[in-house]
Amino acid sequence: MSNLVEIRNVSKVYERGKQKVEVLHHVDLGIAQGDFVALMGPSGSGKTTLLNLIGGLDSPSDGSIAVGGARIDNLGQGALAKWRAANVGFVFQFYNLLPMLSAQKNVELPLLLTKLSAAQRKKNASVALQLVGLADRATHKPTELSGGQQQRVAIARAIVSDPSLLVCDEPTGDLDRQSAEDVLALLQTLNREHGKTIVMVTHDPKAAEYARQTLHLDKGTLVEQATHA
């Protein structure tokens, strides 16, 4: 399999006033098309930073990042926004749904940026909600849903515009065991049956078992690679 994500010699430096903090040191990483990667490591090791670089939310201080053969490390903010809309789905620890909108409307959000008609947007969002098993909750507001259900709505939102890459930052970090397993099983299905490439940050070794491989980050450096079944 060819690599969907190619990270070469990437460093990230944050400047706090005069102080410079290098959070990632010369990271090299390839993620194959169709892979499901768990990213583990102690708090502050740079997991979120790396994930944000892969998802095009931030740009590296040094090195190159290519996704699907296209360089994204040198894109400007506007181009990066367009690129994200077309290529990446995001799932966060705290779901980050818009509280005033129904599940259906939350899922439709990314489609507002496309040329799809209102009817098509509605249909695609319904399909995505169906895929995460929440077709019957389409009209519910986030506050009317459990944490696990909210996270599944967030996943529906992440996949509705059919991106090839999903980045998830501790998607089960705020969920009970059962809800977490539902969400992880869903991600696994998306990876296995729908061919989504997934990068997931997690603190939970049990969660990492759902991935095809686990990477460990420590103080800004990838330390070892373990491959699961």
């Binding site: 939310l57 509280p99 507002l112």
Partner: protein
């Protein structure tokens, strides 16, 4: 348009706060609608098209000082003057001082000069032929339920009759209409015959309140005015002649510069409104930084976020403002008949236009800083709560 539901949802995220804010915007624009209508009414007084070919001659000292009747023939002789009428303020009261409306004694040809009023020819003839006859505007007749043939008693406040009586009784012989519905505010007035007035009053006989000249050519107004005033120059009754519009303007400005007052009040009101709504918007956006970050994560551009926040602030002001002026549009006509001439018959298009322009202006102004903040936020920082 497809983003409208997003803007709407953001606006009503805090229902109570938004409703209170809208209520204060509403109150401000209701006041604006009312005051600007008052200002309109006053500036109408000085800008009517109906009077462009008419001039008024009165005492240079004050319009309450009368002039000799002998001037009539001399003014008629001034080149450029087509016809001259005259009138005197009567100031009679119908039943109760609260019922105030202007009433004037006028020369027989008076109505011929005021072509903006329509009156059936037989009624006009009856007016000229009935010594105690009077005519009133249609809206005034309607207000008091007067019909032709009614007797209308007025209590004199300035002019008692020779027999000492203060009650003047007039026979209603005609009802006139304003030809232009926009000039309906000129209807609530009563005219009665000069002859009856001058013969029956106790004092002032043979003196005239003001002359009204109709010009052959409105463009000659300045020359004609100079020629008329020259007649009485250096006498004990010097006159001042000006166009009717200029007269109305100076009459109104005797009370106050309405435009300045309205402007002053509204500046204070809008200044307060800007502080209040500006604070609401700043707070609303501050609370929503993580949500805006999510929109950006999903792929909304910087400009898109800027647009959403600005749309929200403009919508906030528009909602309150349109309802406010709309309410004024209901109140103004209802009050118009109660406060003769102080209010026009409705909220004019120029008030709407200025109001909507102000709404957009204020909306953009108060949305600007919050919108910039939303636009400039760094996604990774906002998501991490930094």
């Amino acid at each position: 348009m497809k983003y409208l539901h997003l803007v709407w949802a953001a606006l009503f995220r805090r229902k109570t706060r938004t409703l209170f804010t809208i209520a204060s915007v509403l109150a401000a624009f209701l006041l604006f609608g009312l005051l600007d209508s008052v200002r309109n009414a006053f500036s109408d007084a000085g800008n009517s098209v109906a009077g462009v070919d008419r001039m008024i001659t009165m005492s240079k000292i004050s319009f309450t000082v009368s002039q000799p009747q002998s001037l009539l023939a001399r003014i008629e002789a001034v080149p450029g003057v087509k016809e001259v009428a005259y009138a005197n303020w009567f100031g009679g009261i119908y039943q109760d001082p609260k019922n105030f409306f202007p009433n004037e004694a006028v020369s027989p040809n008076f109505m011929d000069l005021f072509s903006e009023y329509a009156i059936p020819p037989d009624q006009l003839a009856a007016f000229k032929n009935t010594r105690t006859g009077c005519i009133v505007g249609a809206s005034l007749a309607k207000k008091f339920g007067w019909k032709i043939g009614d007797k209308i008693p007025l209590q004199a406040t300035i002019f008692p009759q020779k027999d000492g009586s203060n009650t003047w009784t007039f026979d209603l012989v005609g009802i006139f209409h304003a030809r232009d519905p926009k000039e309906k505010n000129k209807e609530p007035i009563l005219f009665f015959n000069w002859k009856y007035f001058d013969e029956a009053r106790q004092f002032g006989n043979g003196r005239i309140g003001w002359y009204i000249e109709k010009l052959s050519d409105p463009n000659q107004a300045d020359q004609v005015a100079k020629a008329i005033d020259a007649i009485s120059a250096n006498s004990d009754h010097e006159t001042k002649t000006e166009s009717e519009n200029a007269f109305n303007r100076s009459f109104v400005s005797q009370f106050a510069d309405i435009g300045l007052i309205v402007g002053g009040i509204m500046s204070a009101v809008f200044f307060t409104l800007i502080l209040l709504t500006g604070n609401t918007m700043a707070q609303a956006v501050r609370e929503r930084i993580p949500e805006l970050a999510v929109l950006k994560t999903i792929g909304f551009s910087n400009r898109g976020v800027l647009g959403l926040v600005l749309a929200e602030s403009v919508l906030l002001i528009l909602l309150g403002g349109l309802i406010g002026i709309g309410l004024a549009a209901v109140i103004v006509p209802a009050m118009s008949s109660k406060v003769q001439g102080l209010l026009p018959d409705g909220v004019r298009w120029n008030t709407w236009a200025l109001g909507v322009a102000l709404m957009f202006g204020i909306g953009l102004l108060i949305g600007w800083l919050p919108a910039l903040r939303g636009m400039r936020l760094k996604i990774v920082d906002a998501l991490a709560g930094r």
